[in-house]
Symmetry: C2
Subunit: 344 residues, 2 copies
Amino acid sequence: MEKIPTIKDIAKRLKISASTVSRALHGHPSIGLVTTMRVNKIASELNYIPNKAAISFKQGKTCTIGVILPDFSEAFFASALSAIEDYASKKSYNVFIGQSLENPEKERSILETMKNHRLDGIIISLSKNTKNFEIFEQLKKYNIPVVFFDRIPGLNDIHYSACNLQPGMQQAVDCLIEKGHRNIGLINGPSPLEASKERLDSYKTALGKHGIVINDDLIVSSDLSSTQNQYAMRRLLSLTTKPTAVIAFNDYVARDAMAIVKSNNMIVNHDISFISFANLPIWSFIDNPPLASIEQFPKEQGIKAAEILFELIDSQLEEVPSAPVFHRALFDASMVSYRVNSVA
Amino acid sequence: MEKIPTIKDIAKRLKISASTVSRALHGHPSIGLVTTMRVNKIASELNYIPNKAAISFKQGKTCTIGVILPDFSEAFFASALSAIEDYASKKSYNVFIGQSLENPEKERSILETMKNHRLDGIIISLSKNTKNFEIFEQLKKYNIPVVFFDRIPGLNDIHYSACNLQPGMQQAVDCLIEKGHRNIGLINGPSPLEASKERLDSYKTALGKHGIVINDDLIVSSDLSSTQNQYAMRRLLSLTTKPTAVIAFNDYVARDAMAIVKSNNMIVNHDISFISFANLPIWSFIDNPPLASIEQFPKEQGIKAAEILFELIDSQLEEVPSAPVFHRALFDASMVSYRVNSVA
DNA sequence: CTGTTAGCGCATTCAG
DNA sequence: CTGAATGCGCTAACAG
């Protein structure tokens, strides 16, 4: 095990002071060309590597952002993470990650850790059951910018990048109505989730525009587990006026619901049509996918979150703390059709 | 913007020394109960948070591991990352990420950064074209343990967690032979990739066991881009003795190849059967998936890599540097059938 | 049981 | 142009 060389080692070798070395390494203009070159030479000879931990410590700046998402193995979040990492790396920033796994306590502890690390900023997609936003107050107090991503809290004074579902939902409903559907079911997510409320509202709005009276029986919800997804679909099938089309919270829900339909010897997209929200990049090469999926642009949303975050980080460097502006990026979800012909 | 309180602030408030505060905060036994309690009280009052950057700096230990993968948005790597993060967080370790995007220079620069950060260890899945392993020598010299994951280099003195494809390949070939196939094609990945060599070798071995002579025309390869995947399949279809079954490098390749088959008005799994290697968790709910897929256990492989890494990290704390042991975990890939009945 | 001191690696202010 | 001195926040060896 070898000792990693420090600035002092190269100072000693050259019999000059550490500060000169430091300056030379940074190309400081006040250092003579010869000295600078000699320093650089020895530095690379010794394989000198600046100790980032020390620099972060000294400068109170870590050049690192944190990204907290519920589950990296979900395609939607994985795409977002990938895009955020790419963006950050182009800004020469590092990325620290945390996975809440939908557990508010774990989420809280991750945030705590990131705060302790003095990360320069955080992008977070809330867990499903996060109720307590007190820690975000603290982060604000200590000037650690936070950008919410996709799953945003119902607060006013926040920055976020999210998706406006209404346009996509409207397109979906329009499309189903046009195909003659009148009983359109909704398998929603858990009601505390902002995303669920939004789906529900836009579902009602969209149907309302066609003068269709809302039938509450056609609205069921699930905690997004496979079991409950399936149970939700079973409840829809048990209705006397079964839906002829179903809008699913996301692709996983659609998958489970479609499985139930099949197991009841009904034909997907014939007996019951589906439209879902896109978390999976897979329907495009599946034989009998839903009619359509509503794209939510994980990469674009992620990049936007990163853009906002870096704007906030950069603006901190300014002297005058201008009046707080809250950045809110809202993408219009839009429907992507998977099939031109119906199965019939 | 408020100043984040330090250990000194607490000390001042209580008119005691900083070291006493430090010890109290750590529950050091030599500190009086009253003092300890008073310190804790003020600490929580002030919302004291230890500065991890300072601690890392001081202790020369970051409690952070790095994970470098080619692309987080690929399901296989996303699952692995998720599992590794989960494992690390249970060990109270943080995770730094980097995405090589198959670019050796970017990979190199990420490794450099992680070295600068004095990360306690690194898990890496190499980019497709990494040729230069010099930096790994440096990391070893500076005692930063590295565990290779899935895409491993052809070196001897390394730790890794990977997948032994042979058993899965054998099962696949056995299965196809049993169904009467004799012309079995292979769409392989780029030849520099260890994973490609392994597939090729095990393909030959597996066929050899059935006494089948290798027909080199049936072996094509692709750089894994959609274009080349499709081109590879077209070449197979252009042969005078077309294959009746194809083993694909991974699920993406299979997808593209199957698309070509369809566009040639042939029926997948009827005219040409497919078996692929599993990177996607999706075939299980697709109507006409490949016959089977060879599971490579991303989560298990990832966890194993983490286990090895932490063992290495822990063993560094020991006095006697025991003779170097190289940890090598090899999972047996195994075939998962998706369909009992053929389409015929 | 507690205070004093020193130092981790580096950038920076102040003196030359 | 360069060196000496300082301190970031914290821990630990050394004194009491």
